[in-house]
Symmetry: C3
Subunit: 213 residues, 3 copies
């Protein structure tokens, strides 16, 4: 991984840890819990992916993921009021969205290289890489998981992963380009959702009890 | 696996996905969430089993499990009112019970062939194969897990797995017969529970606070 | 493992299973659920550790862990009122604390021997060994996980694991001594917390909404 990709990945790790601690801080969480939730959110998705792939978990080969997640968790714990400022929190949400886009495509790349369960494997594990940590965080914190909300978070990730898969099948020689493109695609939809407060449209929701015949 | 067993397994996969989407539809779930819950319920148990066995996850070797789970989830999402019709829903519950019976015994068979942690391993992992997906679904959907309910769902699975283990130890040469028999045994109890609305009897429940001395 | 360590480990397994069944019995749990929760609490942490390490899960090599966990779960189920007596319950809580101390250090020892993700791996997986089962139990039982509570349970485990790591780096030749020492250290803090009803101090908690600027 080149130095730019690496820096960007670490930035995503930081954002994941910060959002985890912020989201849980309302309930009054202890330092230990903050670090656990921060680290799990940052590395959880990739860990589940690697266990299913049966390869060494990625952070065991590069402990910086743990250190960076830990440092971000502790910093957020100490300076919660700072991170809760409107501008900072908004910035963190965008970086978090960028992290999810990046992790999804990086995850797919890894699975693709291993040719695991093609063509479904990369999509499935790309989505897991991006949202697995956040879902685990929600379960441990006793919150509604992001799978059950109307937030436009997981859906753009899925669409981007499907797009990356299609493009890479059509023109495998340009996979790096498709990766950049699809990361931008996911981040674009997520940013639009954050900016205009968009949520999953009604026709993509199950009918509620009243509407049913 | 012969064509009959294979068809029946796919039918179980379909039923698991349908019940997952139906059970979550009341809360108003997005298409993405419906597919995730449907697929996880259908393949979750076997995935946990294969990770503990440290063998390739079964769906990575036959993607039909994913496709079938996905198709059933989308169909249920689109046609929720149809699947909620009393007769259809009742039929689905029976097929779901049959799926659990089948998955339990198939799971045990796989573990037995690997001679993993005999004689406890097959029973433990058989139960996990049958109910692991449903439990994960309940956790992700924020519902009371089926471990904590009085429903006669997991208990017949456990009894059938124990019975299969005993019979296969006594007469290993007839294991295929015992498998069919125990699938029928589990499905029989489950069907009776569905038909007569039976639940776990009082003497198999912990005493509640009032009864304690 | 010598006979003393082995007996003590089994005692910890018993305590974990008993506390799991006791904590869930208020909700009125069925025998099946009691056994599942008891066994998962007793072996869950070590199972997650072994899956991340990619080594055979420990209980598959020694089924006594399952048998002992099962027996303790059934006994507690049958004799709930006995185990809820003040003195017995208090004793069980101390043994449970001792179990957590022991499992943490034993877990670290295993990871250390494999030189996995040094120096962070042993600490991370030591904590997971000690509290992973309890956290899984809380999730399955629909309770607030012990990560989110103010109870002094996980924090001493973490401190003890960090201490063990530091001491073992300074003087690796005395690791066995450090292990005994750190087990005593964790158990000491946990006992003090139980005896004087201590919880995580305010300065280790995130500020609540009112206090924030």
């Amino acid at each position: 991984m080149d130095i730019f990709s690496y820096s960007v990945t670490m930035l995503g790790t930081v954002a994941f840890a910060i959002t985890a601690v912020l989201a849980s801080s309302k309930q009054g969480i202890a330092l230990f819990g903050a670090c656990v939730l921060g680290i799990i959110t940052a590395i959880g998705g990739g860990t589940i992916r690697d266990i299913i792939l049966d390869v060494p978990v990625f952070w065991s080969l590069d402990l910086n993921y743990i250190w960076v997640g830990l440092a971000a968790s502790i910093a957020t714990f100490i300076a919660t009021p700072f991170f809760k400022r409107k501008l900072i929190q908004s910035l963190v949400l965008y970086i978090d969205g960028f992290g999810a886009s990046l992790f999804a495509i990086q995850g797919m790349d890894k699975v693709w290289d291993l040719q695991f369960a093609m063509p479904v494997g990369p999509i499935l594990l790309g989505v897991i890489t991006a949202i697995g940590g956040g879902v685990t965080r929600d379960v441990l914190a006793g919150r509604k998981t992001l799978i059950m909300t109307r937030e436009l978070y997981a859906t753009p990730v899925l669409l981007g992963c499907i797009l990356f898969s299609i493009l890479s099948h059509i023109a495998p020689e340009h996979r790096a380009t498709w990766g950049t493109l699809c990361t931008a695609f996911i981040f674009g939809i997520r940013s639009a959702a954050l900016h205009w407060k968009l949520s999953v449209p009604d026709w993509l929701m199950t009918k509620t009890a009243e509407e049913e015949s």
